[in-house]
């Protein structure tokens, strides 16, 4: 289930932009921890738990490598653990490495969810009004990909059937591939001009043409957008006041649990968990409806 599918594309786009911005913006371990946990959970709910767990198997070693290599490049910090080739390896550098690896992985998982939610049509709907030409260009490119792929296979087969396709030597193979590619270019370009003429015949580029969109901006979208923007504003304000300040060098600062900091953690949690909340709500509604039947 994807609760985000019920939203107008603006809502998820703003939401992911906000969480990614907040994540990349801070080095505060609690904020990053919250973001990481929520990113993985959101990704799990949207793309499937099994897939996400499997990707974690790849992500964790990368995180460990990032964390362990940081001390090799950064010799800041006062707590020296040991010396490696005469260079000090400090506790602070290791902790900073862990912190940054968490940041990078959470951004990666946010992008994964973003990618699963924002399909091509949503992207086009989003930017269709701002940049209609670019949006159209993007959607046409996406459309041409499978077409060209199919055409490539057809040409390949035809060349093989004609007996022109040579697979004797490495060089011959490359030459054949390039001939196929050349034919593909000619075919693609020629047929593309036909597409363009057809577009023109249907009035593309005339003034006053509107584009159809299946998405409607409802009250729920407005509420979600308001929620996202308000929480981001609160987080930015608190960060501006210094609640999100954190430093690793020369010594790791202690984590602050004052009023302002607590408010910051809470708003970050609310923002990051909003996606999970929507998914859970949608799933419960779905189950309830099913149980009524």
């Amino acid at each position: 289930m994807k609760a985000f599918d019920n939203f107008h594309p603006v809502a998820p786009f703003l939401y992911f932009a906000a969480v990614i911005f907040v994540t990349m913006f801070t080095t505060h371990p609690i904020l990053l921890g919250v973001s990481f946990a929520c990113a993985v959970f959101t990704c799990g709910m949207i793309t499937g738990a099994k897939k996400t767990l499997k990707s974690l198997l790849y992500a964790l070693p990368v995180m460990i490598v990032i964390a362990l290599t940081n001390p090799l490049f950064s010799h800041n910090g006062v707590t020296i653990l040991f010396y490696l080739n005469g260079n000090p390896v400090t506790k602070e550098a290791v902790l900073y490495g862990v912190d940054i690896s968490v940041m990078i992985t959470s951004v990666f998982y946010w992008f994964k969810s973003y990618h699963a939610v924002m399909s091509g049509d949503k992207f086009v709907c989003l930017f269709g009004s701002v940049a209609p030409k670019l949006a159209l260009l993007l959607s046409m490119t996406l459309g041409f990909l499978p077409k060209l792929k199919r055409k490539y296979r057809e040409i390949d087969d035809a060349q093989k059937a004609l007996g022109i396709y040579s697979r004797k030597g490495y060089l011959d193979k490359i030459r054949s591939k390039i001939r196929v590619l050349g034919i593909l270019v000619t075919c693609g370009l020629e047929s593309s001009v036909e597409t363009a003429d057809s577009m023109r015949a249907r009035g593309y580029g005339l003034k006053g043409r509107t584009s159809y969109s299946v998405f409607r901006f409802t009250f729920a979208d407005a509420a979600f957008v308001f929620f996202t923007v308000a929480l981001t504003a609160v987080i930015c304000f608190l960060a501006y006041k210094g609640a999100a300040d954190f430093r690793f060098y020369p010594t790791v600062k202690e984590i602050n649990f004052g009023l302002e900091s607590a408010a910051l953690y809470l708003s970050a949690l609310l923002l990051s968990a909003a996606g999970i909340f929507c998914e859970i709500k949608e799933n419960t509604v779905w189950r309830l409806l099913k149980s009524k039947i």
Partner: protein
């Protein structure tokens, strides 16, 4: 002689002629407006972002500032394309070229560093000019990352491939067979600069600031990748430029796509 014959025989298909005459009268204010927009972005918005990064964020948020700058740098060029006079045909041809470069990246995905994207972007730029090169490059980054994974690096790839297209559109004479040595030079330098830029991004992302030792380490560890990438650029350019250019020029002559007049 050939070209003029084609133009006379193709007016039923080529409707661009009356439009271009109209455009010529309005050209100056449009160009001026475009210039104002780009100047605003390059001279005001980008310094403002850097200033905000230094002042508000205590100079430590290079990762996010650099992403914003990469996006901003592309905005005037996208706006120029959006407001420009390219019609349906130009649009569709650009879509095909972008799809081809993405397809190339997908086909050669198993070989790290071996991708024809740069070559196709440069060839498009030679045939159809700097703007077409920029759009093909920037869009190739966005679309291919739909398959390879979007991330904060997407704006950087957009910037790198886009500006490579833009520059090669300015360096080479439009539609003419390029000098082979210059072509190989652009391919190799383009590949190396691409890697240098992506490593800058990695350093900014890791350290939140500049760290020379990490940058050098990344450069050294990425050396084989960069070498394969630069060599493959040169190879693809050598093999593909003439046949592709011929086809693109033919399209220009036959249908009036991206005709400079």
């Amino acid at each position: 002689m050939d070209k003029s014959l084609l133009k006379i025989s193709a007016p039923t298909v080529c409707e661009a002629a009356p439009e271009t005459q109209n455009e010529k009268g309005k050209k100056t204010p449009r160009v001026r407006r475009r210039l104002v927009v780009s100047l605003c972005v390059y001279l005001i918005a980008i310094p403002l972002v850097i200033f905000a990064g230094v002042k508000l964020f205590n100079d430590r948020k290079y990762n996010i500032v650099s992403v914003i700058i990469a996006v901003l740098a592309c905005v005037p060029l996208f706006a120029g394309f959006e407001k420009g006079r390219s019609g349906a045909r130009e649009l569709v041809v650009l879509a095909v070229m972008t799809a081809l470069s993405v397809l190339g990246r997908l086909i050669f995905a198993p070989v790290p560093g071996f991708k024809p994207v740069t070559a196709i972007v440069i060839i498009t730029a030679i045939a159809y000019g700097a703007q077409a090169g920029f759009i093909t490059g920037a869009l190739s980054a966005v679309v291919s990352n739909i398959f390879f994974g979007q991330g904060p690096w997407t704006p950087f790839q957009m910037f790198a491939w886009g500006f490579l297209g833009l520059l090669s559109g300015l360096v080479f004479r439009r539609g003419k067979k390029p000098n082979v040595i210059l072509l190989v030079f652009v391919g190799v330098v383009g590949g190396v600069i691409f890697s240098l830029m992506m490593d800058v991004w990695s350093v900014l992302n890791f350290d939140g600031g500049w760290n020379l030792s990490r940058y050098l380490a990344l450069l050294v560890s990425g050396l084989p990748f960069t070498a394969v990438y630069a060599a493959s650029n040169a190879a693809f350019l050598l093999i593909l430029t003439n046949p592709f250019l011929q086809k693109l020029n033919r399209l220009r002559d036959k249908y009036g796509v991206f005709n400079p007049q």
